[in-house]
Symmetry: C2
Subunit: 426 residues, 2 copies
């Protein structure tokens, strides 16, 4: 007769604490490595990952079989599934990170005081980064390697449905680190599916410096509310496009269609369209391409009166991130009214103005309080790769530390190095 | 018959919420003002403050009379007391802030993507800053004006013993803002001594972007633990000086005496001295000046065996911020051992090495994980003014957003401005 062993929470907490201690030790050793050492380790990880492809795919097949039995929906199954091509893409993605500029040891400032003290402000790693993610197992490699390139140790907590796959990936990465002569604890995966692990991670403020949650709204909300460790994330991407009185109609149509429909499920997708009363006659032309591709238009009373395909928006629509082929459309009375709508209903993520009037655009860019403000281009450019910053671990809409795409540079902090010759303070 | 009116917590909370809303509105207007406008407002505030000197001193006399009746100790009374000279110093201090470089609108980065998108990363204000401070009423002016220069609105919460004085100062500042055509709500003082106000401020994460606590350990601990708003502060300044094998004895003596004794009550004061075993013969010479000025030496067994004036340190001494004429002194076996002691027992604030060996010093500066690391100079230089950054609102030993002195530059964040010409994302 077999009985399930009851979980001893005391043991479990000490196991989690041990992860923290090992991460801190690894981070200290990693902090002073050269870029060459970190790049060589990434290359070693790319090789061990490629070599471990069969084991990873076997583990993934088991995860997929459980996931199908648990009746996960098609989108979740697709995010979970790996094949040789996807493993290949993961390996290629890792190698791209090694090609980034070294974010460490950048001289952010250097000056000499009248008393002869020379002060340098130098970029250094943050330390230990906790990543809590859902189904995509490739995050194990992407996030682990991005943190490593910026000199940080990671503690990764994968979704339970990808546990076998993520474990197999982490094993390959750690083997690669070891091969390259770095501590394998630079990358650790929480070795249990136990749900309580997330709660414990969020309290480990002595050994984890930032938590980056990647996943759905409920995960991010929970992490934000419960974490004693600072969190880098964004909860919503309620992105706006404002068509100003001086907009070019063709640009407006192209940009709006792309911003809404290129991919509806990403955080930079537009959710609300504000049309200036001065160019209301442009409205049918603007909405036609959206209707054509099957986008639902939820309009205010005026929009509905001008467009018989539109349905009436309710109050909550103006604060909703649809992540779907739906757009709310409202009429505003000029630039000030648009800016105030965006600041009130937006999520400080990414917002755009379409206008040929440079001064009006500049006011919008200055006065809209968002991480990314865009003139005459799609909100879907809100992405570290599109910004030329290389891979990103996520996008932040907080105001402290990092705003917008969080790439290797944003995973660093700084210290002041003060060089003296015996100076004392008067 | 008069009865005390019971506090209606509901009303009180809505009053606090109203402060938040007014601060947010003021911050939005302030964010896009020019440096000239902000400098003119600071000059106007300096004038109204100077003109209000009599009222401020009358309010201070009442606070002092209550404080004496409440038997506050001499140090607290001294921090609370103002005279014409101290008001004059406050006015002069404000004018110095107006002379700082404008921290807003700095181009932190600017690049053009292959698709023609031009991306700018520009410094902007954080928004609304909450300052919670204890007895010194001059913080009302110092902090309020420092935040204003960096484009931020403030909500100030003074200590109850300085309530009348701080109110009088705030009234002058707000009158100055009004004179200069800015919203007086750029600077607001919580209009009650009610203790519950602090707890409410810490929950106002919608309308306050950072909280900066200034005061004793219990205040900072409480704010750190309870705040839903991010906190910029340091709890401890357990600063170390390590005398390396290649130290110059005279420099060591001068720097140690200054670092420990110049002012014992500031966060940059040294608390622990680590002496390398290789130069133990230097120990009597190093400790003599400390004994001479009456500094208590708490040594490990070896130090006590070499110095009969030393008393035995207990285990807690190595983790204690004395803020007094006491120093713990231990012997370490070389550089690695010193670095590991500092990283384990320090508070990541400011730590120094004394050595003529540049390579050893560089390793100490690189491997000690502190906001400020110092070679051959006093730890008491840990100060925004001494760094040439102008006035500071405090020192941070956190790793996110700002480390070390928090001046006007550290009170900013950034946004990305993306300039396009109709680009859509493929």
């Amino acid at each position: 007769m077999s009985t399930a062993k009851p979980i001893d929470i005391g043991d479990f907490e000490s196991e989690m604490a041990a992860l923290g201690t090992k991460a801190r030790t690894a981070a200290q050793a990693l902090a002073t490595t050269s870029a060459d050492t970190r790049r060589a380790a990434i290359e070693a990880m790319a090789k061990t990952l490629a070599a471990g492809s069969d084991q990873i795919l076997r583990a993934n097949a088991e995860d997929m079989s459980d996931a199908r039995a648990a009746k996960l929906n098609a989108a979740m199954l697709d995010r979970l599934e790996l094949d040789a091509e996807r493993v290949g893409a993961m390996v290629a993605g890792i190698r791209e990170v090694a090609a980034l500029d070294d974010p460490l040891g950048r001289m952010l400032g250097e000056w000499t005081r009248p008393n002869g003290l020379r002060i340098e402000r130098v970029s250094i790693p943050i330390g230990v980064i906790g990543i809590i993610y859902e189904s995509r197992p490739n995050v194990t490699a992407d996030a682990g390697v991005l943190c490593l390139m910026s000199g940080n140790a990671t503690i990764l907590r994968c979704g339970s449905e990808s546990f076998r796959t993520s474990s197999a990936i982490a094993k390959c990465l750690r083997h690669g680190l070891d091969t390259a002569g770095l501590l394998e604890d630079c990358i650790q995966l929480v070795p249990t599916r136990e749900r309580a692990a997330v709660g414990i991670l969020l309290t480990m403020d002595q050994d984890i410096d930032i938590i980056v949650p990647r996943g759905g709204r409920s995960l991010i909300e929970r992490v934000r509310e419960d974490s004693r460790v600072p969190v880098l994330a964004h909860l919503d991407g309620i992105c706006h496009i404002y068509v100003h009185a001086a907009a070019n109609a063709d640009k407006a149509c192209d940009v709006i269609l792309n911003a809404k429909m290129r991919r509806t499920g990403i955080c930079g997708a537009a959710e609300t369209l504000l049309v200036d009363r001065a160019i209301l006659d442009m409205l049918p032309k603007i909405l036609a391409p959206l209707h054509e591709v099957g986008c639902e238009v939820r309009g205010d009373a005026e929009v509905c009166s001008l467009d018989n395909q539109a349905v009436a928006a309710s109050k909550v629509d103006w604060d909703t991130e649809y992540l779907d082929a739906i757009i709310s459309v409202g009429v505003v009375d000029g630039l000030d009214s648009a800016i105030s709508h965006v600041n009130r209903h937006g999520s400080h993520h990414t917002d755009a103005i379409i206008s040929e009037d440079g001064a009006a655009a500049e006011r919008f860019l200055n006065e809209v309080d968002s991480a990314i403000v865009v003139h005459n281009a799609s909100t879907q450019f809100a992405d570290g790769g599109e910004f030329g910053m290389g891979a990103e671990i996520g996008i932040s809409n907080g105001k402290l530390h990092a705003r917008g795409p969080v790439g290797v540079e944003q995973l660093t902090t700084y210290k002041y190095k003060v060089h003296g010759n015996g100076q004392v303070r008067p």
